[in-house]
Symmetry: C2
Subunit: 311 residues, 2 copies
């Protein structure tokens, strides 16, 4: 990971000084680097010995950073990882354009690795992620969103990058399709579990731990799984509450407290975490093929880490 970090820093450089400023604001703000770690871990799991994994891992982190920059613009967010969002410091235009720059850099790094198959996987992921974000745009503020609809959003906007980050490991190691599919399945289900736990934490995590404020999703009118469950389990009066606060965007702090009370009443947070565990279990089983390898243990620990964040 040190080599990935060094490589990332070396590639945010530009003679346009605003670019490294904006990029490094976010990149050096203490993200978990979970996605690039997955690329390194799956490559190592598959016995890869070159240095393409470092470039692909950095590319994955750039893709992730680019989507964060763009997300904050789309969602009008003020905070990101406990700091002011880049858009609050440099504006929306800079956030959009630096995001595009990072995406371009990501593709350049992938090309340097020279694996057309890895390029295909990551560029497809870029398209699917954008598609997931657009789906979320339509689903946002719409209390009619079903759990299946929401899972499709999560697969696109979050889990697809996890899946691609894991799939390129066996690909550059030249491993058979069977192992590529297993790594992809691990990443996809880990990503879903990760997002669902995130959704639960948004209504219950401590602010410091979360790096953003409790209730951000609520304030932004985002329909996430806890709300999907509470909405469907609630009576007509409760549904009217969710419609007013999420669809019409009239939520204040007292509403957030009421939302948290309703989520608790219907067990929506606990059941969101139970759903996340299901996907975690699938991720763990997907790794079975590699079970004899010591690196598999670390990847199984990631599943535990992701689902244990909920406590």
């Amino acid at each position: 990971m040190e080599r990935v970090n060094a490589f990332i820093l070396s590639r945010t450089g530009s003679s346009v000084t605003m670019i490294p400023e904006v990029a490094n604001h976010l990149i050096s703000s203490g993200g978990k680097r979970l996605r690039p770690m997955l690329t390194l871990a799956t490559a190592s799991l598959c016995g890869y010995e070159g240095d393409g994994d470092v470039r692909l891992a950095a590319a994955v982190e750039f893709m992730h950073t680019a989507t964060l920059l763009h997300d904050d613009v789309v969602d009008d967010s003020d905070m990101r990882r406990g700091k002011l969002a880049a858009r609050k410091l440099w504006g929306n235009e800079a956030s959009v354009l630096v995001g595009d720059f990072l995406l371009g850099q990501a593709f350049k790094m992938m090309v340097e690795v020279g694996s057309l198959e890895a390029l295909r996987i990551l560029s497809e992921a870029a398209a699917v992620i954008a598609e997931g974000e657009v789906m979320q745009l339509s689903a946002a503020k719409n209390t009619a969103t079903t759990e299946d609809d929401y899972l499709a959003v999560v697969r696109g906007k979050t889990a697809e990058l996890f899946a691609a980050a894991c799939e390129v490991g066996p690909v550059i190691a030249g491993r058979p399709k069977e192992e590529q599919a297993a790594a992809r399945s691990y990443g996809m289900n880990l990503g879903v579990a990760f997002q669902l736990v995130d959704d639960a934490l948004d209504y219950g995590g401590r602010e410091a731990k979360l790096g953003k404020k409790v209730g951000d999703d609520f304030r932004e009118g985002k329909i996430t799984l806890p709300v999907v469950l509470a909405y469907r389990r609630g009576d007509a009066q409760e549904r009217a509450f969710w419609k007013r606060t999420l669809e019409n965007g009239e939520a204040d702090d007292a509403d957030l407290q009421e939302a948290i009370r309703l989520l608790g009443k219907h067990g929506a947070i606990d059941d969101t975490i139970a759903r996340a565990r299901h996907y975690g279990a699938i991720a763990r089983d997907a790794l079975g093929l590699f079970r004899e390898k010591p690196e598999a243990r670390a990847l199984i620990d990631v599943v535990e880490f992701v689902t244990a964040r909920a406590h």
Copy 2:
């Protein structure tokens, strides 16, 4: 359901005597009529008062019967619902063609109802089901199948018809998109739960209860979720066993006993049922919108019935 049964019998008639013979052999063989019941129940849930629901329910059962006839040919099955499969009595050709006849009749009934939207949903389902069967053809005998791959097969070959059967209820009742999506989500997840329980029962159900022999999936080299889990949880020697018996089709009765032992060793049957319960929980939540309606209780009971079959 009596009206559906009468309607079904009235529509298997043909001056080609083999057609009613083959069709009635299967149709009157005591299937659970679960799918047409779902259409009646969701239509009634949505306050539908016409008689289109009976025709659509019959169409759904015809589509289901057609796929069973075709499946038995594709799988070389000898038994169906505790009786000899139609193909053993009348041959493969008759089974294929009578299946086509039933599919044609199903579309005629749908047209009679006059809802273009219901037609669209059910004809799309017909295409998706066929697609699911073809996917299974490629996945069959391939131990590399991941849990995600397998779930995609299940969504296509089984759950899609459940979803469509449920979705047309609110559609002919003229209910809003929100309720259509909820009914569809209920059916889709119920269908996944149903198929996973079926997969578990294939290795553990009593023959009389199952209407087919224990281990049929194994003998046919079908990769189902219990096998996906046991394969990934097993060591190299166990994987060689699964490859030999399923991929090379060299399974005898002693192999079946060994397969059942390995499934038990890895908790693969129990975990298949735990996964089914997850989808059952999603189905139950999807119905939340209708919770005030008494008919919703019956549909929730179906979820219980489907997951309780495992005991």
